[in-house]
Amino acid sequence: MATAAPPRGEEEVQWGFIGWLKGQLEGLQAYSLLTGRTFRNVLARPFYGGDTMLQMDSIGVGSLPIVLMTGFFTGAVMALQLSATLAQYGQIQRTGQLVALSIVRELGPVLTGLMVAARNAAGMASELGSMVVTEQVDAMRALGTDPVKKLATPRLLATISMTFSLTIVADLCGLIGGYLYAILALRLDGRQYWYTAMQALGATDMAQGLLKPVVFGIIIATVACYFGMSARGGTRGVGRATTQAVVSASVLIILTDFLLSRVLIGFFGA
């Protein structure tokens, strides 16, 4: 028995969705291939040590002021908010403990990741995108250089190492921000703040707090390089690639933070 053909509009919507899904899957495949090649090149000659150092300077030193400020004021605001709640239970002396745990486990890595993503994913995607649309990447290939090895791998190594280092700096600044608020505004004993903070932090908290920036560094570099190297359509395409890189890296950082926290808590315990 013949079935009635679907209305033309409905068919177009269906094919439009399939086309969109196919595009997303192809994008995911291209991203995975680029990430694989970027990692494989870490151990392959030639090594671009100079390019890696330049990127480390740009990402690490360049991001230091915003990471210092973000870490410091996050620590201070955590002390402000938590002390108000703790005061209701007569536990205000535990402010250092809660500030330390929240900063080292969560806020330090996540906020550093987001700051590095906002500043450097945009920079990387726009730089690589501009190189693609002005045929500089094609010229590099034509001159016998693998652009993934020359452009993506140094950025990956630099982003991982700098996100890791900046997270440690952000954690320290957060603890100092909380400490200054605790002694200046809450009139708490400074030694007690540091004692409770250090007592609260165990090896598993440190491991959680230092594993996350490594994963976030990988996300920032690979997402930025993927969108940068896929840029098409002149300056508008570069702008679009830059926006997509920042948005995708930021969303992936928050999503991965949740998944990693769940896995690590399951592994190490709360």
Partner: protein
């Protein structure tokens, strides 16, 4: 020239980019020391043919052989080695904007680590001198005019003394004096260095200059040439296919309506 080995060969090459067919069944041969000029309107697939020759694009059908290597079938890693024997000048120069002129020209030499710094600097100076641009060595590409950028791009392509040169509209958008200057360099490469070239252009003046002049090393100047001594042949692309392939005299005598229309402007 007729018995010289074939260095570039396209065998029924077709390619579609996105949903658009760009080349259909293109076949061509370029012998050692010969310059093949690709003519045709914008969008005919001339630049794509150059990118196929150096392996930046792969054909959907057909085969591309360069210097005896199957470019269309080689893995990317093997292509990087082959590309060191080929120089390319892109339509928009494609100089690295964050590097100085010196670093652009020395790029491949720096990457290969096969020469010491002094030797690299000497080679860079020689290549820039060949395009009469020694004085801009420490400038960045953005500080140069379009014509100067094009000449730096030629110097960069020449730095490793390639066996094959690919030129994508080397005179496009340039003033007549600069364009003539660049064409002189290309003729000198053809006649003095016996470099095999594939040259894309839609400027008939460039084609005529290649067909009608040769470089006289004794006089260090251009001299009129006949059809055989110019070592130049022509291929005209129309609607993604070759509609003419032959010498300059055959091009002028062609009865193909599109070729006639193209030549008459």
């Amino acid at each position: 020239m007729a018995d010289a080995p074939i260095e570039i060969e396209f065998d029924h090459v077709s390619i579609t980019l996105g949903a658009t067919p760009v080349l259909h069944g293109l076949s061509l041969r370029v012998r050692r020391g010969e310059t093949k000029v690709l003519l045709g309107e914008s969008g005919a697939g001339k630049s794509v043919a150059l990118k196929l020759a150096i392996g930046l694009l792969r054909p959907d059908q057909g085969r591309v052989m360069v210097l005896g290597e199957p470019v269309s079938e080689m893995p990317e890693a093997a292509l990087y080695r082959l590309r060191r024997r080929i120089g390319i000048v892109f339509q928009e120069s494609a100089l690295f904007d964050s590097l100085t002129v010196r670093d652009n020209v020395a790029y491949r030499l720096d990457e290969e680590h096969a020469m010491d710094l002094e030797a690299i600097d000497a080679r860079v100076r020689a290549c820039l001198a060949a395009v009469e641009l020694e004085e801009v060595m420490d400038k960045f590409p953005a500080e140069l005019s379009g014509g100067m950028q094009r000449r730096v791009a030629i110097a960069r392509a020449l730095a490793t003394e390639p066996e094959i040169m690919l030129f994508d509209s080397p005179t496009g958008g340039l003033d007549p004096i600069t364009a003539t200057n660049i064409m002189e360099q290309i003729i000198r490469l053809r006649d003095v260095n016996q470099v095999t070239s594939l040259l894309v252009t839609h400027r008939l003046q460039d084609a005529a200059m290649l067909a009608c002049y040769r470089w006289d090393p004794a006089q260090n100047a251009l001299r009129p040439a006949d059809d055989t001594s110019a070592h130049t042949s022509f291929l005209v692309l129309h609607e993604h296919q070759a509609v003419f392939d032959g010498s300059g005299a055959e091009l002028n005598a062609s009865t193909n309506p599109y070729v006639q229309h193209f030549l008459q402007g």
